[in-house]
């Protein structure tokens, strides 16, 4: 298998030990293929023998080139699709956020969160207070009655985060949630997400094609190769939080991972 594990820096974390006892998500030998376009009956292997654990409270980023199967894997973990082979177990139903905020435009910011609460079975009398608490958590205290189209891109993603947190899942899946935002807003949201993660103790599986983003956020970076998607390599990131995108340690590891990613992509050019 192509999986190698390199540990950088000091902190090997206790995540690996904790995973032996329990998990937020356990992906075992998962493969996924789709009917190949243009052929009859042919199949395109998108994910090949993925084995991956996310420990409770762990922050894992899944890194890979566009089209390598990151979203496919996340959808499988979210239960929106079934794997062709292998098994996926999660600790309860995970929450999922998308690259587009996916907030419902017929509801207010608060309404979106209350819908998540309602579908989770939270009684009506508690929903308003809980929605306001969650908006507070993403620092959008005044946004309760705002319509989606009245919010900026960054605010929408924060409401989407609050809505996902409203599901009270043990595991939060995020599919390139900040890819469409400008650099400054994205940087701010990185800090917010880190803070929310540390305050709530939720496990996060965060998909991105941005190496710096992956390193800035994660305790563990998992690099996916392309066609088929396999786990190429993993890095444990022991840098303390809060981190900054311009930290030298973040930059150094990013350079190393980028090299590896380039190598992965170059391999495809050769054959």
């Amino acid at each position: 298998m192509a999986t190698t594990t390199a540990t950088t820096a000091t902190d090997a974390t206790d995540a690996a030990d904790a995973a032996a006892v329990t998990y937020a998500a356990r992906v075992e030998h998962v493969s996924k293929s789709f009917p190949a376009p243009g052929t009859s009956g042919g199949r395109q292997l998108v994910l090949d023998d993925i084995t991956l654990d996310v420990a409770p409270g762990e922050f894992v980023t899944l890194l890979g080139a566009s089209g390598c199967g990151k979203s496919t894997l996340l959808n499988l973990v979210a239960g929106l699709d079934l794997p062709s082979a292998g098994s996926i177990r999660t600790d309860g139903r995970p929450a999922l956020t998308f690259q587009e905020h996916a907030l419902f435009p017929w509801l207010t910011a608060g309404g979106n969160i209350e819908l998540a609460l309602r579908l989770r079975g939270v009684p009506k009398s508690e929903r308003r207070r809980e929605a306001e608490r969650l908006l507070d958590l993403v620092r959008l205290r005044g946004a309760y009655g705002k319509r989606v189209h009245e919010l900026s891109g960054g605010m929408r993603q924060r409401v989407a985060l609050a809505r996902a947190l409203a599901q009270d899942s043990r595991l939060l899946l995020m599919d390139e949630p900040f890819a469409a935002l400008d650099a400054i807003t994205r940087d701010v949201l990185h800090d917010e997400l880190t803070r929310v993660w540390r305050e709530t103790g939720v496990s996060v599986l965060f998909v991105t094609h941005n190496v710096r983003e992956a390193v800035r956020l994660a305790q563990r970076v998992v690099l996916l190769s392309s066609r088929p998607g396999r786990i190429a390599r993993q890095w444990t990131v022991g840098l303390p939080h809060p981190r900054r995108i311009e930290d030298t340690a973040v930059a150094e590891l990013s350079v190393q991972i980028t090299e590896e990613l380039r190598g992965e992509i170059r391999r495809h050019g050769r054959h």
Binding site: W106, L119, H149, S152, M155, Q167, D191, P240
Partner: protein
């Protein structure tokens, strides 16, 4: 890990920094939505149609003065006005209107109650869509007048027959509008709904119906127009003393009496009801839905 005292202290300072930065970004990037003042709305929305109506009246009166057609063919505005006054003074004007409007509304509500679940089924169940979808689209293009003769034979000359004709005209429009609305829901919303745990009826209620609302409303609007047309057709063709005088019968009576003012009166009232329902009910509703979703572009 980062849980040292030092780390937390930095974190607090950083947090204040971050909050300030964030507030700045939010303020810079949010959309300000204003409402146009009432006066401006009046000038832009009310004055033009009033001018148009006035112009039509003037041209009409000019044609009458020019005697382009004999008086029994072309009634003058004052003759028609006299007819309105007379009907009003006799107390029958509102009866005519109410007879038809109450039928139309009840029929429309029935069509709503049937068309909505039907549309939802067609939109969401593949087999039903394949089976019923084409028939529904076909029915929509069938002029509902065609249903009057069979309805009379099946049900006789009574109110049920009127309702049957309304239903056959309006149900396909409402169902098709809902199907179109459901098809326009971005798949992302459905996936988001499913991850939130909305499945089955809860998905239909919380995600599909509100997501399809713009298309559904367009279908309702068309459904009402079809209800009203079908009803007028039914009233004109099938008149009977037990049915009371609605606007369709009024029109038909006018023809039988060769009373052009009465014919004009009936046509105006039919038109008026159609416009009024659209203007007072559907248009505001549609605008409200679109505005709340930020889909209404101010022009």
């Amino acid at each position: 890990m980062a849980g040292t005292d030092n780390g937390i202290a930095i974190d607090k300072d950083g947090a204040e920094d971050l909050a300030g930065l964030e507030a700045g970004l939010d303020a810079l990037d949010s959309v300000q939505v204003g409402r146009t003042p009432l006066r401006e709305t009046l000038i832009r929305k009310v004055v033009p149609p009033v001018t148009a109506v006035a112009l039509v009246l003037v041209v009409w009166q000019l044609l009458v003065w020019a005697e382009v057609a004999p008086a029994y063919k072309l009634a003058s505005p004052s003759d028609v006005w006299g007819e309105v006054r007379e009907a009003w003074l006799q107390g029958t004007l509102l009866d005519y209107i109410w007879t038809s409007v109450s039928r139309g509304l009840l029929g429309f509500l029935l069509a709503l109650a049937i068309g909505t679940p039907l549309g939802l089924l067609v939109a969401r169940v593949k087999f039903v869509r394949a089976a019923v979808g084409p028939i529904l689209s076909g029915l929509q293009s069938l002029p509902s007048v065609a249903w009057v003769p069979p309805a009379v034979l099946w049900l006789g000359l009574n109110n049920s027959m009127m309702y049957a004709v309304i239903l056959l005209g309006a149900v396909p429009s409402i169902a098709n509008g809902l199907v179109a609305g459901v098809d326009q829901i971005p798949p992302l919303f459905l996936r988001a709904g499913r991850t939130l745990g909305a499945t089955g009826l809860r998905e239909a209620w919380h995600i599909v119906m509100p997501g399809a609302l713009p298309g559904y409303l367009a279908g309702l609007k068309q459904g009402w127009a079809f209800s009203w047309r079908s009803l007028m057709a039914a009233e004109i063709i099938a008149s009977s003393p037990d049915l009371g005088v609605g606007l369709g019968q009024l029109l038909e009576n006018g023809r039988n009496n060769s009373s052009m003012p009465q014919v004009f009166l009936a046509i105006f009232l039919i038109l008026l009801v159609g416009i009024a329902v659209d203007l007072l009910f559907f248009s505001p509703l549609e605008r409200r839905v679109l505005r709340r979703r930020g889909l209404l572009v101010a022009r």
